[in-house]
Amino acid sequence: MPAPLEPLDNDRLEALLDGDVGDNDRERELEGLVRELRAAKPEAGAALRERVRGLRGGSERKPRWSLARLRVRRAALVLAPVCLIGVVIGLAATGAPRGDGGDDESAAIGYDQRRVRGQESEGAGGGAAPSPPAWDSGDSAATSTVPSVAEARKLAPFAPERQAVAGAPAPAPRRAQDYRADLTILVDDVDELSAATQQAMRITRSVGGFVVSANYGKPVGEDGDSMLTVRVPVTRVQEAIARFGELGTIIAQNIAIRDLQGQLNRQAESIASLRKTIARIEKLLEDQSLRAETRARLEFQLNDTRRALSQQTGARAQTLRTARLSHVTLTLTTRDEGVVVPPAPPGEFEQTLRDALRILGTVVAWTLATLIVLSPFIAIVAAAWLLSRAGRRRANAALLERS
């Protein structure tokens, strides 16, 4: 019985198929096999040839759209409107380019960076200190709803007792406001830093305020910092800021004022309305001939209204507390960063460029967010497609094995 044949090495087989001469009997037999197979290659008969030639007469149909045929130019034609739509969405999401926008209710004063030596300003007698920018909030003090007498009495504490000190705008009279100030003051050395910090706390207490937090950093070499967060009555905040300024050299100052009057008025109106409702319901409940279910419904409504009144009263008290006391953050430092020149306002081109980049950033962010959200679904679809392709291949292979 002849020994079983082993399959030929792949490389050797390739060489034989390419025309290499066999080295042994087996290879030469295989060569003969290949020659015989190639020589007996079937040829199409005349009938089949004519039949296929007859197909040429038919028109070649216009191609259906196929992703595979998409060339770069066609891809650009598709992508261009997609990008345009993305830009439009970005514009709609971010709004039109703004000049110098601001909220209706808050007026953040621009970062005011200057050096003030004690009470002196630079170029004493020559240059005037920059006037505080306008910070009139949305509700004009002159034309807003005049509060009731009772409200006016409650608002009296907001009337300024002193005139504005240079650099710190005065709170508006007769209006509730959230007044916040950030000051950075340069002192000469760490010894003075400690003394200035203690003095700042004394100033706070002397104007009727209190210290919320004090953070005195351990000095490193000749440098040190301390940060105080204090709350002072809004009527004396200018005085406090001026006295803080005397502790050293002001190198940065930022004031933000948010009008709370509108909010306070709305709360007062709501409270008045709720009280009227309570009075009306109580009057109705005095009627003894009320049906049980009507009485129950009215009592339920009364409880609800009283609860709402309690909430509104609490909210209004909180608003008043916020408005009565200003927030001041005071940073004392020995680090001399030098005079910072305030940046010039951006020109029109630069502003347009910034707006364009902002819109582009928004579009990119939205696109990334969409991709992140869709990525699991895309992954699932891709996996399903790959699996189905692999499944089809296996099915075809099995079919050919069976045939």
């Binding site: 198929l17 015989e36 007996a40 079937p42 040429r56 595979a68 291949r393 050919l400 045939s403």
Partner: protein, 173 residues
């Protein structure tokens, strides 16, 4: 415009491609089906399908011969699937219709070799047709079959090995 002109030059017309590769497609389908009449039918169907899809043919991705063989493979697989469904129906209803005896294909081969080929599966015959008879290279054949070139070479080696083993059996029979 230049790219389009170059593409037009590289891309043959359907008529030229059909004329040049009709025998190749017929040989391929004959090896798969072992029935010369059926092979002619499927070959004609292959070219009909190819004509409809001719604009999708990209000469940069594959030669016309390879593309036509791919279409032929698809046509042959459709035929095998429909045959399998037919046989399942026949088994289910116990109504075995006698099939016409297929016309012997590959008449140019020796009886031993033909008989040995008949004993191989369609997958083995397909591989022999593509690599040996049509002389397609390993990467092209692998791409057509959707397998790696290494797997293609290995399968061919095994198919020829099985063929070699069957030839002595055919002789002794």
């Amino acid at each position: 415009m230049r790219t389009r002109e170059r593409a037009a030059e590289a891309r043959p017309s359907f008529a030229d491609a059909a004329e040049a590769h009709l025998d190749d497609v017929l040989a391929y389908v004959t090896y798969m089906t072992r029935d010369s009449t059926l092979a002619e039918e499927l070959t004609a169907e292959t070219f009909e399908r190819a004509l409809r899809a001719w604009r999708q043919f990209d000469p940069h991705r594959a030669s016309a011969r390879t593309w036509l063989c791919q279409v032929a493979r698809s046509v042959a697989l459709d035929h095998f699937r429909s045959e399998e469904r037919r046989r399942r129906r026949e088994r289910a209803y116990a109504d075995l219709e006698p099939r016409e005896a297929p016309e012997p294909a590959l008449a140019g081969l020796s009886p031993d070799l033909r008989e040995a080929l008949d004993g191989l599966s369609a997958a083995d015959r397909e591989l022999i047709a593509l690599r040996v008879v049509l002389e397609l290279d390993s990467p092209t054949t692998a791409a057509l079959l959707g397998i790696s070139p290494t797997a293609c070479s290995t399968r061919l080696s095994r198919a020829l090995h099985r063929l070699e083993e069957r030839i002595p059996d055919a002789r002794s029979a």
